[in-house]
């Protein structure tokens, strides 16, 4: 296979001299170069992230000081905040769009899109993606869907506001809530385009990893990043089409009078003609994607963290094969646990038992991964770069958030904490914050590869420590009000005097959220400033073994100026020693994958 792969690669090299005709448009806008597309994904994702996080600050203000007037509301929400007081409908809209943007546009496209594009060709030794053209289309579809999603914020009756899970009938009936009119139509159109974009990207990643690995790069020599991206792409191909089908059926129910999800509805004084549909069917279709989706979000972060941890611990990742096996196990199990979102949806309780069983099974590979990361740190020589800090932070939040999953995954315990703030705290820690840490770790680590410059480490440290404290400050207390029975998606809790004494906790959470959101400005400044004025990077600043660091600092089409190097070893030969206790290469604690086995070295079983 590698022989086949290297043949076209050489052709590519031969016509390298013809690449100077690039115009501004082909280089920066309609680029087919995977590195440029990765940057486009990253910057679009960051912009969407700013919008999504800003929205969360707005509704956190409302939750801490319900129905108080704020000039920021008046400024940002305009007619949706008469006299600066947020209305219930825009509150629901903010919650909905925050969820949609963060899950799909930031953590799926921004994370997986950026790093799959950047790292797959570079780390497997390929000139580019299998199809650069498809890759370009994939980005531009993503861009289009982002624009449509944002444009829905400006429609007359407000954007979609049925929650990011858009359960019908609420999402199907404009009579039920204003946002289910044009806003919801735009949401569905945007997501349909997003899914098309995601599928093109995923197919490209899969084909590239299978076909374009350089000579010697067997599957068991792939860095864990590539394993994670590869498996993520497979889950995406399996599950995203199901969301598309759910969206299409919902579009038909909304616009063409079908009854897939609607039945027996009396609203605003009239009976609707819809008969025989079931909202539970929609829930099944939605979560058949929706659950794998959280692994689509977290697996790339896991891959990134594994790679960064090994590099900065100057140690091989512990249990490479177990790590790969647990990625595969998680991927498989992720497709058969969706029902744990539906324990009390009215489906047969027996199904609840089955889903409890499969759900708690998924804790096993997750536990293995957590223990392996901890062991990777043990007896290491830890280089505390910002990327490393975020990786350690990732393991911490992943454990904290993952453990509460044991409560939610248990159908019995889910009865009383379902849809409370306990759930909000759980999934924000385990997939929101963790995946964001993965994204940030990746940005700090591969920034020199993307932009040829270094980010400022001290700003990175400030960014990490404030974020780490702030994130726990937001979500740790939140578990306690959730377990006390406080429902999520409530505009205000003041109609239940019973909840009055939780109000202080909401104030603390909001203050923590504001601090955490504000400190991200340090990151943004550091990021954009360093693109232009950062210190010039050396070729391999983190002294890493993987192939992307063998390419020149200056970007070029085709990645390597000469022939693509071959690979002779696995990617984790850090601090490998001879029998006499010296590093295999004298004075260097890492051996790049492209270095042939040395005379005095025995190959471990990889």
């Amino acid at each position: 296979m590698s022989a086949i792969a290297s043949a076209p690669a050489h052709d590519h090299h031969d016509d390298h001299g013809h690449h100077h005709k690039e115009t501004f448009i082909t280089k920066y806008i309609f680029s087919q170069d995977h590195k440029m597309i990765a940057k486009q994904y990253l910057i679009t994702g960051l912009i969407m992230g700013i919008i999504g996080i800003a929205m969360s600050v707005l509704f956190r203000l409302q939750l801490a000081w319900p129905e108080k007037s704020f000039w920021v509301f008046e400024f940002f929400l305009g007619r949706f905040a008469p006299d600066g007081v947020m209305t219930p409908s825009i509150y629901l809209a903010l919650v909905t769009i925050h969820g949609t943007i963060m899950v799909f546009f930031v953590l799926t496209a921004g994370l997986s899109g950026t790093f799959s594009n950047l790292l797959i060709p570079l780390q497997i030794g390929a000139r580019d993606m299998a199809s650069g053209f498809l890759n370009m289309i994939s980005y531009w579809l993503f861009f289009t869907s982002s624009v449509i999603m944002l444009s829905s914020l400006f429609v007359e009756a407000g954007p979609a506001s049925a929650g990011w899970t858009i359960y019908p009938p609420l999402s199907a009936l404009p009579q039920a809530i204003g946002g289910s009119g044009t806003g919801m139509t735009l949401w569905l159109v945007s997501m349909a385009i997003f899914i098309a974009s995601s599928l093109m990207g995923s197919l490209n990643y899969i084909v590239t990893v299978i076909n374009l690995r350089t000579k010697g790069m067997s599957m068991t020599r792939l860095p864990l990043t590539i394993w994670a991206f590869f498996v993520t792409a497979i889950i995406g191909v399996v599950s995203f089409p199901v969301l598309l089908s759910a969206a299409l059926l919902l579009i038909m129910d909304r616009s063409f009078g079908t009854s897939f999800f609607l039945s027996d509805i009396f609203i605003q004084g009239e009976v609707l003609a819809h008969q025989g549909g079931s909202p539970v069917l929609f829930e099944h279709l939605f979560w058949f994607l929706g659950h794998p989706e959280v692994y689509i979000v977290i697996l790339p972060a896991m891959g990134i963290v594994s790679e960064i941890m090994a590099t900065n611990s100057r140690k091989p990742i512990f249990g490479y094969r177990a790590m790969v096996a647990s990625i595969l196990a998680i991927a498989f199990l992720s497709t058969i646990v969706w029902g744990h979102h539906m324990f009390i949806s009215g489906m047969n309780p027996f199904l609840g038992s089955v889903f409890t069983f499969t759900t708690l099974l998924i804790a096993i590979p997750s536990a293995v991964k957590a223990f392996n990361w901890i062991t990777t740190l043990w007896k290491g020589n830890l280089q505390m770069n910002p990327a490393m800090l975020f990786s350690i932070g990732f393991v911490s939040t992943f454990i904290t958030g993952g453990l509460t999953g044991i409560i939610l995954g248990d159908s019995t315990l889910d009865i009383n904490v379902h849809d409370t703030y306990f759930v909000v705290a759980h999934f924000h820690l385990v997939m929101g914050i963790s995946a964001l840490y993965g994204l940030l770790a990746g940005v700090y680590h591969w920034f020199p590869k993307m932009f040829g410059r270094m980010m400022n480490k001290n700003m990175g440290y400030i960014h990490f420590w404030v974020t780490a404290v702030g994130a726990y400050g937001i979500f740790f207390p939140m578990h306690f009000i959730g377990i006390a029975g406080l429902p999520r998606r409530y505009y205000t809790n003041t109609n239940f005097p019973y909840f009055d004494d939780y109000a202080d906790v909401n104030v603390i959470i909001t203050i923590a959220a504001i601090i955490t959101a504000a400190i991200q400005l340090v990151f943004l400044y550091n990021f954009f400033h360093s693109i232009f004025f950062g210190k010039k990077a050396v070729q391999n600043p983190w002294r890493s073994t993987t192939m992307e660091w063998t390419t020149p600092v200056e970007h070029m089409h085709g990645n390597w100026p000469g022939a693509i190097p071959s690979v002779y070893r696995w990617p984790y030969d850090y601090s490998k020693m001879n029998e006499d206790g010296e590093y295999v290469i004298t004075g260097q604690d890492f051996i790049p994958q492209t270095t042939p086995l040395l005379e005095n070295e025995e190959e471990m079983n990889h």
Binding site: S89, L92, I265, K315, G319, G352, Q383, I399, L403, Y490
Partner: protein
Amino acid sequence: MTVFLVIIVLALLAVTGWQISKIFQLSKTHEADTDTSEVASDKDNRWNGILMLGFVIFLYVISIYCFWEYGKFYLPESASDHGSEYDTLMFVSIALIMVVQIITQGLLHYFAYKYKGKKGQKALFYADNNLLEAIWTIIPVIVLAGLILYGLFTWSDIMNINEDEDPMVIELYAYQFAWRARYSGEDNTLGKANVRFIEGVNQLGVDESDSYGEDDKIVTELHLPVNQPVLFKFRSQDVLHSAYFPFFRAQMNVVPGMITQFSFTPTITSEEMRQSEYMVDKVRRVNEIRNDKNKVLAATGESPLDSYEFEYFLLCNKICGQGHYNMQMKIIVESEEDYRAWIAEQESFSETMAKQNASDSENANAPTEEPAENQENSEQPQNDVAVVADNEQN
């Protein structure tokens, strides 16, 4: 609480200030353009390692603080029969995950501190150990198997409805944005219903032709006799809702187009709950907060908040529209006699309809003097609908 907050903020500011001063310091000393000065130095490794240790202490402290301060928020003793099983399972699970949390976070951050990088320190090339992998695969397997089994037995206990206990059947009807309850009456059987029958005072769409429905009683607050098993049948008029009874550890979604159900036995009356130590304490706290607010309100000349007295409540827990946050119903658990006295006072469905028909025919009689035709007109659509509804149910 505010003190705690202030401490956090001050600590963060201190760290920020310290860091900013470092930035200035460093930017002075390193003027060279390309170097590895943005890669962590030994000094960075040392202080970040120490902060890692500090961070895990911070984690332990906020855990203890939250359990200490917010632990009291956990719901009072369950007011339903199955609830004590639920709470036991919950406490077992929380204890278990806290043990794992303390150990794993401790190890993670301690290793980060202990093995912080130093020049000349050699990391251990340690790539694999099948025994270790086996250990930490098998331990979670065993622990989770125990939890799964425990959970599943409890789940089937709660969800399997025991018809032998002869539960009282009550329909809970949800619509934007309130609840109704329909008691099944003497026959303990609900009359058929469908939204297509909704007309005039028949707001729940009960089928008038079904004799089971005649003695049904429709009310706006839920009264339950203590220690009597209740089987709730849930029906929605418009969108998804979720009937959440936090004090009874019970919840079920309310789905338009289908009837869902949940059964439990209330065991503590509202009065007993009000007098429990937990609730006395809680109500006192809430009223203190409300009194403080009232002082502010009085200063601005607004009407004060009512003093709070505890009642059980049912709330909607599935996003259902603008008024979602205030879709509640009062629940009163009382003695058998009190319940009987209360239910006897309620109007049955047939009485409600008779009243409407009487006033309808009065209205119809007076001006038009065409009672026969009028009646036909008003019955016509209903018959059509009844046929449709019958077809559906078959």
